[in-house]
C-alpha cells in the first residue's frame, strides 16, 4: 500500500496519471479555438511516457508513443491543424498505450493491429510531404517553425548561416543580417555555438557562431539570398524550403534546435537577441497546470484513512479525559486538558483537510463520456464545467462518480435532443450539459444542468399511474410529479439504449446520494432543460450535529437539516387519520416519535421537544425528550454487519463512553412509514 520503491512500478503509476491528463487535454481541443496549451501539455505527457517508458523496458510503448509525439509536434509548430479526427486518434492512442502497459502486467499481449491502425490513420492526417520518420531514426526533424501556421502564400524556410570567421573584422554586424531576416516574416533564430574552440585556440575577433533560422515568409527565396549577398564569401549558407522539400534533415547535428542564448558573455560575439523558444514558451504557458503538482507528496489513501480513524479515536479519548478530569475535580488538570482540546481540534481539521480534493478529477472523466456517448447517439453536445476547484472529501468524491455518471448519461440519452430536432425547436444544434460545483454553507452543491427537452410531466404521471404508483385521480404538484421518478421501478426511458435504461433507475441514484448524507433535487422547464442539484456534505468523517436524548439514549441529527426546535405538550398531540401531526405556526407538520421507533422504555416527560428538520423540501418533526445542544463529532461506521440498518448513518462514542447513533433522516422517514419523500403516496392533509 505504500508508495512503491520500484522505478518500474512508479512509472506505471506515473503513466496512468499522464494518460489521464492526456484524455483531459485531448478533449479540450475544440475546432476553431486556441488550444496551444492543451497541445503542449499533450506533447509533454507523451514525451515523458516515451522517455521513461524506454528506460524501464517498455520499448513497445516508447516506439508507439514516438509516432504520437511526432504528430503532435507538427501541430505544435503550426504545420498541422487540430481536428476531431486527431482528437479521436489521440484518445485511441491513449487507450492503446494503456492496453500496452496493462499487457506488461497481465502478460497477455495487447492488440498490435490496433496500434498499427492508429499509426496509419495518424500518418494519413499528417501533411502530405511530412511523413514521420521511423522511431529509430536519429535525424533531428526540422526545427519548430514559427508558432503560427503559415498563410496560404507563405513558405517556410530553414536557413543555416555559418559566416566566414572574419565576418566581424570585415565590418559586418551579424545582428543586422538577422534583423533583416526578421523583417521578411515570422522568424525564429537559434544560435549554434558548437564551433567555438577551446580558449587557448580562440581568435579573439573571430566569429565562431552559426545560426539556424526558421523563417516563414511570402517574399520568396531570392529575398532571403539578398540578405546574405555581401557576406556569402567564405560562408556556409544553406536555404531549404521546408514544406516543398520535406523535412528530410540532411544537416549535421548542428541543425538541432538549440535555444537562443539570452546571455552571450561566453560567446565571442553578441548573440542575436533570442526569439521566444517554443520549448520555453510552452513551458511557461503550461506552468499553471503543472505548477502545483511538483511540490506535493503522494500518499496512499489507505494511510490517510488510517490517520482519520486515529484522529477520531483521539478526539473521543480526549473527551473522555476531559470528563474524567472534570469529575476528579483536580484544578491543575484544567489547563492541560483545554490545551489538549485545542491541539486535537487543530489536528482533526488539518487531517481532514488533507483528504479534501478538488472535484476536477471527477468532473474531467465526463469529458470523455460526453464525447463518446454523444458521438454514439449522433448528438452534438458541449460539456461545460465550472467550479472544478471546489474541494470535497476524497471518500465523498469516490462515491460521487457513479450517481454523476448516471445523471450525465440520462442527460445525454434522454434530455438533449438530436441536432435536427433542436433546430426545429429553434434551439442551437449543439446541446450543452453544464456540470458545476460550489459551496453552500457546510455543503457542496453539484449541479448537472442541460438545455434539453425538459421532463415530460404528463408522461411521468401517466407512467406512474400505469405502474400503479399513484392513484389515477391523485392531485400532485409539479415537484411531487418530478419526485415520482425517484420511486423504485420507475424508468422514463422509452426504449432501452446502450446508454441508459439498464435497470438502474433514479431510485438507485437517490440512494447513492443519500448514502453520502446528501440530498437530490430536480427542477425542470419543459422545452428548456432540466437541472439536477446534489447537495453533499464536505466530508463524511465529521458531522456537526444536534445532540438529542430519549431516556438514557443519545442521538445525533445533522445540524444542517435542523430548522427549529419546538415544544410538544401532551395536549397538543393530535393524531389525524392515524398520522402524527402537530400544528407549528399554522402549518400541520408530521412528526416521528423516536421513542416509539427505537422502542425506548420509560415514561416520556410531560413536555417533549420536537426537532423540526428539513427533508426533501418537507418539514418533519422528530419527537425527543431533550435537546442537549450542538455537538461536533467524528463519525464511526457501524461496520458491514449493520449495513442494512437504514435509520442510522453511523455512530459516535460520547465522552462518557456511551454510543450515540447518528440519525439518517431519509431512512427514518422510510422506516416510520410516512413516505414523506414520496408525497404522492401520502394523503394530502
Amino acid at each position: 500500500m505504500k508508495y512503491s520503491h520500484n522505478p518500474t512500478e512508479t512509472f506505471l503509476q506515473e503513466a496512468a496519471e499522464l494518460l489521464e491528463q492526456v484524455e483531459g487535454n485531448a478533449l479540450e481541443i475544440m475546432p476553431g479555438m486556441d488550444c496551444t496549451e492543451s497541445v503542449n501539455r499533450l506533447f509533454r505527457a507523451f514525451h515523458t511516457i516515451k522517455g521513461s517508458g524506454s528506460m524501464f523496458g517498455f520499448g513497445e510503448v516508447a516506439a508507439f508513443t514516438h509516432h504520437i509525439e511526432t504528430a503532435l509536434d507538427y501541430v505544435r509548430v503550426g504545420r498541422m491543424a487540430t481536428s476531431p479526427e486527431l482528437v479521436a486518434l489521440l484518445l485511441a492512442a491513449r487507450d492503446h498505450i494503456a492496453a500496452l502497459l496493462a499487457a506488461s502486467q497481465t502478460g497477455k499481449p495487447a492488440d498490435a493491429e490496433a496500434g498499427r491502425l492508429i499509426i496509419e490513420e495518424l500518418r494519413a492526417l499528417l501533411p502530405k510531404e511530412a511523413e514521420p520518420e521511423p522511431a529509430q531514426s536519429t535525424t533531428p526533424p526540422p526545427p519548430p517553425a514559427a508558432a503560427e501556421p503559415a498563410t496560404a502564400a507563405a513558405q517556410a524556410y530553414r536557413i543555416l548561416f555559418r559566416p566566414n570567421i572574419n565576418l566581424l573584422t570585415a565590418g559586418t554586424d551579424p545582428r543586422s543580417l538577422l534583423d533583416e531576416l526578421r523583417g521578411l516574416g515570422e522568424c525564429t533564430v537559434v544560435a549554434d555555438a558548437s564551433a567555438i574552440p577551446a580558449l587557448s585556440k580562440i581568435q579573439p575577433d573571430g566569429c565562431y557562431l552559426a545560426w539556424n533560422v526558421s523563417l516563414v515568409t511570402d517574399k520568396g527565396e531570392s529575398a532571403i539570398r539578398d540578405v546574405f549577398m555581401f557576406v556569402e564569401d567564405g560562408a556556409e549558407l544553406r536555404i531549404e524550403a521546408i514544406l516543398a522539400a520535406g523535412p528530410a534533415a540532411s544537416d549535421s547535428a548542428a541543425a538541432a534546435p538549440a535555444p537562443a542564448l539570452p546571455e552571450a558573455a561566453h560567446a565571442p560575439v553578441a548573440a542575436p537577441s533570442p526569439q521566444a523558444q517554443p520549448a520555453r514558451a510552452s513551458a511557461k504557458e503550461s506552468a499553471a497546470a503543472a505548477g502545483n503538482k511538483s511540490s506535493s507528496v503522494r500518499v496512499a489513501s489507505e494511510r490517510l484513512d488510517l490517520l482519520v480513524n486515529l484522529v477520531g479515536e483521539l478526539v473521543m479519548t480526549h473527551s473522555r479525559i476531559s470528563q474524567v478530569a472534570a469529575r476528579a475535580g483536580i484544578a491543575n488538570l484544567d489547563t492541560p486538558v483545554e490545551d489538549l482540546e485545542r491541539i486535537v481540534a487543530s489536528i482533526r481539521d488539518a487531517v481532514l483537510g488533507i483528504r479534501m480534493m478538488p472535484i476536477a478529477t471527477t468532473f474531467s472523466r465526463f469529458k470523455r463520456l460526453v464525447h463518446d456517448l454523444s458521438a454514439e447517439l449522433g448528438k452534438e453536445i458541449d460539456l461545460r464545467i465550472t467550479g472544478e476547484e471546489t474541494e470535497l472529501d476524497k471518500t465523498v468524491l469516490d462515491q460521487l462518480g457513479d450517481p454523476l455518471v448516471h445523471l450525465v448519461r440520462n442527460s445525454i440519452d434522454h434530455a438533449i435532443e438530436s441536432p435536427e430536432r433542436r433546430e426545429r425547436a429553434g434551439k442551437p444544434r449543439r446541446g450543452t450539459i453544464h456540470l458545476s460545483a460550489s459551496h453552500e454553507g457546510s455543503n457542496v452543491v453539484v449541479t448537472i444542468q442541460d438545455d434539453g427537452r425538459g421532463l415530460d410531466l404528463d408522461a411521468i404521471r401517466a407512467k406512474a399511474i400505469d405502474r400503479k404508483l399513484i392513484a389515477p385521480d391523485a392531485v400532485l404538484s409539479q415537484k411531487e410529479i418530478i419526485n415520482l421518478i425517484f420511486l423504485p421501478g420507475f424508468s422514463t426511458a422509452e426504449k432501452v439504449t446502450s446508454v441508459s435504461g439498464r435497470g438502474v433507475g433514479m431510485d438507485v441514484v437517490r440512494r447513492q446520494v443519500e448514502a453520502l448524507r446528501g440530498t437530490i433535487q430536480i427542477s425542470t422547464q419543459p422545452g428548456a432543460g432540466t437541472t439536477v442539484a446534489l447537495s453533499l456534505p464536505l466530508t463524511l468523517a465529521i458531522i456537526e450535529g444536534q445532540l438529542l436524548e430519549i431516556g438514557h439514549d443519545q442521538f445525533i441529527v445533522p445540524m444542517s437539516a435542523v430548522a427549529e426546535n419546538v415544544e410538544l405538550e401532551a395536549v397538543e398531540r393530535t393524531s389525524r387519520n392515524g398520522r402524527n401531526l402537530v400544528p407549528v405556526r399554522g402549518e400541520l407538520i408530521p412528526y416521528i416519535r423516536l421513542r416509539d421507533l427505537f422502542e425506548i422504555r420509560g415514561q416520556a416527560p410531560a413536555i417533549e421537544k420536537i426537532v423540526i428538520v428539513h427533508h426533501e423540501g418537507h418539514r418533519v418533526g422528530l419527537v425527543v425528550d431533550r435537546v442537549l445542544g450542538s455537538h461536533q463529532t467524528v463519525i464511526q461506521s457501524l461496520g458491514r454487519f449493520y449495513r442494512h440498518i437504514e435509520v442510522t448513518s453511523g455512530a459516535t462514542i460520547m465522552g462518557d463512553g456511551r454510543v450515540a447513533l447518528i440519525l439518517d433522516l431519509a431512512g427514518l422517514v422510510r422506516a416510520s412509514g410516512q413516505s414523506l419523500g414520496h408525497p404522492a403516496l401520502a394523503p394530502r392533509s
Binding site: H5, N6, P7, T8, T10, F11, Q13, E14, R44, H47, T48, K50, G51, S52, S54, M55, F56, A62, H66, E69, T70, D73, A135, Q136, S137, T138, P140, P141, D192, A193, S194, A253, A254, A256, P257, A258, P259, L261, P262, E263, A265, H266, A279, R280, A283, K284, S286, A287, A289, A290, G291, S294, S295
Partner: protein, 130 residues
C-alpha cells in the same frame, strides 16, 4: 562519494537515478522541477547536478542558466530522450553541461558518466556571471 542533486519531473526516473546513485554510495537529493532544483542549488553546494532537459515550467536549460547566473553551478550532467524532437542536449552542453546522456540508459552507463564527470574539476562558479 559525492553529493548529487537530481532534477527530473518524472518520479520514475528520479527513483531510478536515486536508487542507482545511492547504491554507488553517493549522497542524493532530488527535486521535481527546475524551480525547486535551483532553490536547492542556492541553499547548499552539490558536487554534481543531474537534470532532465525537457520539463514543464522551468526546464533544464533555464535551470542551468539560472544556476550559472547565480554563481552556484556545479558539474552538470543533462539527460534527454533519444530521438527527441526537442533535442536540447547541444544547448545544454553549450551552457556548461559537462556530459549528456540519452534515454534509455542503464545504471552502469549512468555511473560511468558520473564517475567521468566527477573526475573533472567543477566549473569556475563565478566565471561567467552576466
Amino acid at each position: 562519494m559525492a553529493s548529487i542533486l537530481i532534477i527530473d519531473d518524472s518520479p520514475s526516473i528520479r527513483l531510478f537515478l536515486a536508487n542507482a546513485l545511492s547504491k554507488a554510495g553517493h549522497e542524493i537529493a532530488a527535486a521535481p522541477g527546475g524551480r525547486q532544483g535551483f532553490a536547492a542549488l542556492r541553499k547548499r553546494r552539490f558536487d554534481l547536478v543531474i537534470t532532465d532537459i525537457f520539463m514543464p515550467e522551468s526546464d533544464g536549460i533555464e535551470t542551468i542558466r539560472n544556476a550559472r547566473q547565480a554563481g552556484v553551478l556545479p558539474r552538470v550532467i543533462a539527460i534527454s530522450s533519444k530521438d527527441s524532437i526537442m533535442n536540447l542536449l547541444p544547448a545544454a552542453k553549450m551552457l556548461g553541461a559537462m556530459h549528456t546522456i540519452q534515454k534509455p540508459f542503464t545504471a552502469e552507463q549512468l555511473l560511468e558518466a558520473v564517475s567521468t564527470v566527477l573526475r573533472q574539476p567543477p566549473p569556475a562558479l563565478a566565471a561567467s556571471t552576466g
